[in-house]
Point group: C2
Chain length 408, copies 2
């Protein structure tokens, strides 16, 4: 990152913004997405990588990652339609989520995607749909493990959870699946997801191994040999000061062992890592313009045209308990002749609070950060903005400016 001039997808931010003529915006970097995927291929050579599109459902992103990844996971009928529209092969789409409606299950069976069944009731509905459509329904069982991913930002498994069926009762649900085979249910595998957003590689490796072992214990109850074993992910992204990037080496070793064991335990089965945030977070920037600069009792405020209505998570109001600053910088709208020495420019830091334009004290993008001095018309850039950004924000709040998304 050059603080004198932020470069986005190989282009100076000012050129990009001038071409766009609109603020605020998100920009997603195709090259960064591709690089992340290549990196994962290197670390996990024999593992199928799926994209959980809830992290960023922008059509260009889904189309691009859909072409690079081995599959796309959807969490609603809307996402299913988007994925199909983006050209993803239904064979490689899986559908998870605890509250699937009958209409959603109908569409999923019709499209021929894999349904991660989350409850016995859902299993019955899927069977009824398969009978009514006289079509096969591809199903996997989502299992709530009996352990948690330690140091997980979001616990998706372990304890009492609304996701999947408890490991303890999975054998009986698998038996029910077997009984329903004659009605068109095609069992394909298991989905076990212990947690997400962990920055502790050992914990992630342990959870993946433990999830694999649960699958081994459940396999004898399965109605058919596993074709797919989705172990979730859990790979965290570093957002905040003091957090370190996840070391993939221990996870890679664990997955290599899992793949090796699966050759014997589940011959021919695909071992899947399903990643959302980890694939897209670092490939996105949120860019917003400074519309006012003011002081209040010694504190400098930059007021921007983008706020929590466009990027709720960066304001600290989406899942965080204690608000922390996302990585943020500023970028001068004009690089004058006097700014030709970026080293000099870089040193002009000042402590500022960046707030959005909403008339609420919740609307903070950066709380007392040291940033390059900025004025009205300059840019504020929020990094790590590729996941859970615009669609995870209350865009109608205060009926303000529309935010756009571009893919470069």
């Amino acid at each position: 990152m050059d603080r004198g001039q932020v470069v986005v997808a190989g282009q100076p931010l000012n050129d990009l913004a001038a071409g766009l003529g609109h603020s605020p915006f998100y920009v997603y970097d195709r090259a960064a997405l591709g690089a992340r995927m290549s990196e994962l291929r290197g670390w996990f050579p024999q593992v199928a990588i799926h994209y959980a599109m809830k992290a960023n459902p922008m059509p260009d992103v889904v189309r691009f990652l859909g072409s690079l990844a081995d599959g796309v996971d959807v969490a609603s009928l809307g996402e299913l339609r988007s994925a199909l529209d983006a050209g993803v092969d239904p064979q490689h789409i899986s559908f998870a989520g605890p509250g699937k409606g009958a209409d959603e299950l109908w569409a999923a069976v019709e499209a021929g995607v894999l349904i991660n069944v989350e409850s016995e009731q859902e299993l019955n509905t899927v069977a009824a749909v398969a009978i009514e459509q006289q079509a096969p329904a591809r199903v996997a069982l989502r299992v709530n493990p009996d352990f948690e991913l330690k140091s997980s930002g979001l616990r998706m498994g372990g304890g009492a959870k609304p996701f999947g069926v408890d490991f303890e009762v999975a054998p009986q649900v698998l038996a029910r699946m077997a009984a329903l085979r004659s009605h068109g249910l095609e069992f394909e595998g298991l989905h076990i997801f212990a947690g997400s957003q962990s920055l502790n590689a050992e914990h992630v490796a342990e959870a993946l191994t433990a999830s694999y072992e649960l699958a081994v214990r459940l396999a004898p109850h399965a109605p058919a040999p596993l074709k797919v074993l989705n172990l979730g992910g859990g790979l965290g992204v570093a957002y905040f000061p003091g957090e370190r990037h996840l070391d993939l080496a221990p996870i890679s070793s664990a997955m290599a062992q899992i793949v090796e064991r699966a050759r014997t335990d589940f011959p021919g089965a695909e071992v899947v890592l399903e990643l959302g945030r980890y694939l897209v977070a670092e490939a996105g920037l949120f860019v917003t313009r400074v519309v006012d600069r003011k002081q209040s009792r010694g504190q400098i405020f930059l007021v921007t045209d983008g706020g929590l209505n466009h990027f709720l998570a960066a304001s600290g109001n989406f899942g965080q308990v204690v608000r922390k600053n996302y990585p943020v910088t500023t970028c001068a709208a004009r690089v004058d002749a006097t700014d030709s020495e970026p080293q000099v420019w870089q040193r002009e830091l000042e402590q500022v609070t960046v707030v959005g334009p909403l008339c609420t004290p919740l609307d903070i993008l950066a709380d007392r950060m040291w940033l390059p001095k900025a004025d009205v018309g300059d840019w504020v850039v929020v990094f790590q903005a590729g996941a859970y950004g615009l669609t995870a924000s209350p865009q109608q709040f205060l009926s303000r400016l529309h935010c756009i998304e571009i893919f470069k």
Copy 2:
């Protein structure tokens, strides 16, 4: 509240929902809004009551409250357009917010609404617009007080804040306003807002009195006699167990004294209470259908078709530090003959966790609450849902079901 059958706007919920044929939905109760307004008129007989429409910008609500209240406060160009479209007289619209864009200020001057100026830069922009349009610009100065509303849920004033100009520098900004009078700036008054969502009536009364006294101290610096003195509000709504409804008596006394003093200090000026949440929160319900009922390790989960994508605040992810349950109940979709004795039905309580359909552990509507036993197809009803509901929620998240709003 009859737990056997929730009644909404005088109609059984099931009848209402059957007529609607869609879930989830919000319903806002016209009679409840009217009653709240009448109650306020009783407590604050000589005070102008304004509606801050950011709390609920649904057009029917704005139209109705616009007709009952003495004014509407808008926080963006979008809200301004909605208010005008709802038939609110521009004379009675005021526009506040820290990051107003030049286009917003242009439209505000053009429409002839009162602009609560939040910074010196904004003042300059308004003056430039007035000159360019050769039209008068109605302005008030928003002042950041030098004290806070104690026990306030959201601090809007005191300390370093992005809202308004600090009390200490207000005299010089008022002098600048005086200098700009010849350019079409028409000074109308002051806006002082110390905080919101307080359930301590004494603190609210103190803050209103202190705000009034700031206005008295600033008045000699004003370019013209005050026509309007907007003291904000601060009136809190009880949401959580243990919270008590705000006692309006001490606030009423304080306002009566303020109005009395204003007769001498600011003859002819209107004293304004600007209320958002307090006007609408209790007049709204959020209603969502149970789509699955499941158990996990001894805990019962009801999975609903509405979730944090429709009501983020109820999930605890909008401004709350520690998640608490909103008031929630369930309602049987069918009242059978055996349910004819609601007393019996009422006693069948069970401890459940209500979760939305999103594939994230953040999506909780009620965490281990004792609720009337409910099954698939029954309703979950969230009370106190009239403010900061749908528009303050990430509606696109996970591309799920659309939520509708009705006004009864």
